[in-house]
């Protein structure tokens, strides 16, 4: 009997003691996402990267966040920079270490080494470091520690002895129940110069700072995470006065909100093609077409109509400066200025080559948080993808769409200088077409001696859209309707006979909709 009870106990115990991998949040936005909850708790994470890749800043951020957000005091052991220099460097990034040190939550240790390292005879070990670490941990009751960096610490020492010693260090840190980050310089052929640390560390994170098309971008990648799933992609990150921001792709976002409400496209015939209601609020729309097919006009019609409905629109322009856009769209009577003054419209304008695509997206995200728009227009998205459209930029765009969708009620419209024909040349385009909810193709076709603009809705998720290819005209004449049921893009403030109101009985949504009044013969008609 006793035996069986004992056995049962054992079984229960073993069930309770299932090895669960506990993690420690770094508090670095994004890094905790790509590691699904942070770095391994009470274990060692290796942070590798070249000089200037941000190892020191990232590791210090983890310590500071630990103190500020998780009540975990920390020790920063540097073998490289002088304490004062380190403090100054990080102060410029917005880290006030002085206060934390005075509160006895942070201890910065600057360990000079090197003299004795060069003068070695016979075997040795690094027990001295252990003693030192133990002491400084005790000083602030640290839960987190950074050793920056392994290369400086062990420069000039025999790598054969070191391998064993580094292994011992990692195990010893584990016993100390402290979450450790050890930085190391990236090696030529191996991940680290020492060549073995990555085999010992539980988690290896790589940083790099690559220049492509003259734009330098810092990137971060989780190379290995023992016992945990992790994202293996490279993610760009920035270090600025606000600290570190990563821009990760959040794999699946269950809280993604879905709206059943609709928003007018700003073009009445286009609304008609979309069940007479327009786009879904919170959806993503792509207007694709070659140069001169009317993408910006469509986008502006949408923007103007949004503002007219007393909603806010963030217009991100990467081609024309806002002033030029106002002038050009003024030529077809779109009163962008009025809405700029009324505060309904805001522009974001940045030179595409100013920074890389991901960083543009990050700046836009910041704007979104400040301005809280209902509609975002990116015109044209292809311009800021200066690195050419590849899987990287497509992924970033997907992340951005994800981010916008999480807000639930922001509708985002991209324009893109792409054509269906280009798909066969660059298959990456396909990704862009497939990630958006509604895809509108704009084309210019020559019919006999005249070029006409045509559009069709390639797809629109959840909407029984018209498959018709429609000719459209752009005109400065208000209240224009073209013959033969053509689509007209023009500024229309007052709805005279709005078919949407009568059909949907939703005056609150559509009362201010711009529409095409039933009038005869506008000018600029094609054909």
């Amino acid at each position: 009997m006793e035996n069986t009870i004992n056995q049962n106990d054992k079984i229960n115990n073993s069930n309770n003691c299932k090895p669960t991998l506990s993690k420690t949040l770094t508090g670095i936005v994004g890094l905790d996402d790509i590691t699904f909850g942070g770095i391994p708790k009470n274990r060692t994470t290796l942070l590798v990267g070249a000089i200037g890749s941000g190892k020191t800043v990232i590791s210090m951020a983890c310590i500071v966040n630990g103190i500020l957000s998780y009540d975990e005091p920390g020790v920063f052991m540097t073998f490289e920079e002088k304490k004062e220099e380190l403090q100054l460097n990080l102060f410029t990034l917005g880290y006030d270490l002085e206060t934390l040190i005075n509160e006895k939550k942070l201890y910065i240790e600057n360990l000079y080494i090197g003299h004795e390292a060069a003068q070695v005879t016979g075997k040795y070990n690094i027990d001295g470091l252990f003693v030192r670490i133990e002491q400084v941990i005790e000083k602030v009751k640290a839960k987190r520690i950074v050793l920056d960096s392994l290369d400086t610490l062990f420069s000039g020492l025999d790598s054969n002895i070191l391998r064993g010693e580094i292994k011992r260090l990692f195990n010893w840190l584990k016993e100390k129940e402290i979450t450790a980050i050890i930085t190391a310089e990236i090696g030529q052929t191996q991940l680290t110069r020492m060549g073995l640390e990555e085999a010992i560390a539980d988690c290896v994170i790589e940083l790099n700072n690559r220049v492509s098309n003259q734009i330098a971008t810092r990137r971060i990648r989780v190379v290995k995470y023992r016992g945990s799933e992790h994202n293996t992609n490279e993610y760009p990150f920035i270090i600025n006065r606000k600290g570190i921001s990563l821009y990760p792709l959040i794999d699946e976002e269950p809280q993604q909100k879905v709206s059943n409400e609709r928003i007018s496209t700003g073009v009445i015939e286009m609304d008609k093609m979309l069940e007479n209601k327009g786009y879904y609020i919170g959806s993503s729309i792509l207007l694709a077409g070659a140069a001169g097919t009317g993408k910006t006009s469509f986008a502006t019609a949408f923007a103007v109509n949004t503002c007219r409905e007393n909603k806010r629109c963030l217009y991100c322009t990467f081609e024309e400066a806002p002033s030029q856009l106002i002038r050009d769209m003024g030529a077809i009577d779109f009163p962008l200025n009025t809405f700029l003054d009324s505060g309904h419209l805001k522009f974001y304008f940045a030179r595409p080559i100013l920074q890389n695509f991901e960083l543009h997206i990050m700046s836009i995200k910041t704007k979104i948080k400040e301005f809280k728009p209902d509609v975002i227009i990116l015109d044209p998205i292809t311009n800021i993808m200066v690195e050419s459209i590849n899987s990287d930029t497509t992924a970033t765009l997907a992340q951005f769409i994800d981010f916008v969708k999480m807000t639930g009620d922001i509708t985002v419209l991209f324009t893109s200088a792409m054509t269906i024909e280009a798909l066969s040349i660059n298959p990456s385009y396909e990704g862009i077409f497939s990630m958006v909810d509604t895809c509108v193709m704009l084309q210019e076709k020559r019919i006999e001696t005249v070029h006409v603009r045509r559009m069709y809705i390639m797809k629109s998720r959840g909407i029984n859209n018209s498959k018709e290819e429609k000719e459209f005209i752009i005109t400065d004449k208000e209240n224009t309707i073209s013959p033969n049921n053509k689509m007209v893009i023009s500024n229309n403030e007052i709805v005279k006979k709005d078919p949407i109101i009568s059909r949907e009985n939703k005056p609150s949504v559509s009362a201010n909709l711009s529409s095409i009044a039933q009038n005869e013969n506008g000018k600029n008609l094609v054909k």
Partner: protein, 105 residues
């Protein structure tokens, strides 16, 4: 011998060498280091030396004052300049050269 720091020192042999040996009692390297340095001192310096052996786990404060990372570590405190040498001190020639000890004396 071109070993001393200045002319005076060259003439006057130091009366005493003062050594500090930092060890970690747990490791075998340290045991060898103690043996080796004692043998060395007795052979080359006879009674002209002082040797203090410090276990860093027993006296961590001293260890941190001296920025000890590697053990065993031998520090020659006197005569100046201070010199350091890590390892199990198995190579006598290294010690003689490093600490400028005139072994013919």
């Amino acid at each position: 011998m071109t070993i001393s720091q200045n002319e005076n020192e060259k003439i006057e042999e130091p009366e005493k060498y003062i050594f500090k040996l930092f060890i970690s009692a747990k490791s075998s390297d340290s045991v060898y280091a103690i043996k080796n340095i004692k043998k060395f001192c007795n052979h080359y310096l006879q009674d002209k030396y002082e040797l203090e052996v410090i276990d860093i786990f027993q006296e961590p404060e001293q260890a941190s004052e001296e920025h000890i990372v590697l053990t065993p570590l031998l520090i020659k405190k006197f005569p100046l300049p201070e010199e350091r040498m890590s390892g199990d001190l198995s190579n006598t020639q290294h010690i003689l050269a490093k600490f400028h000890i005139d072994y013919e004396n």
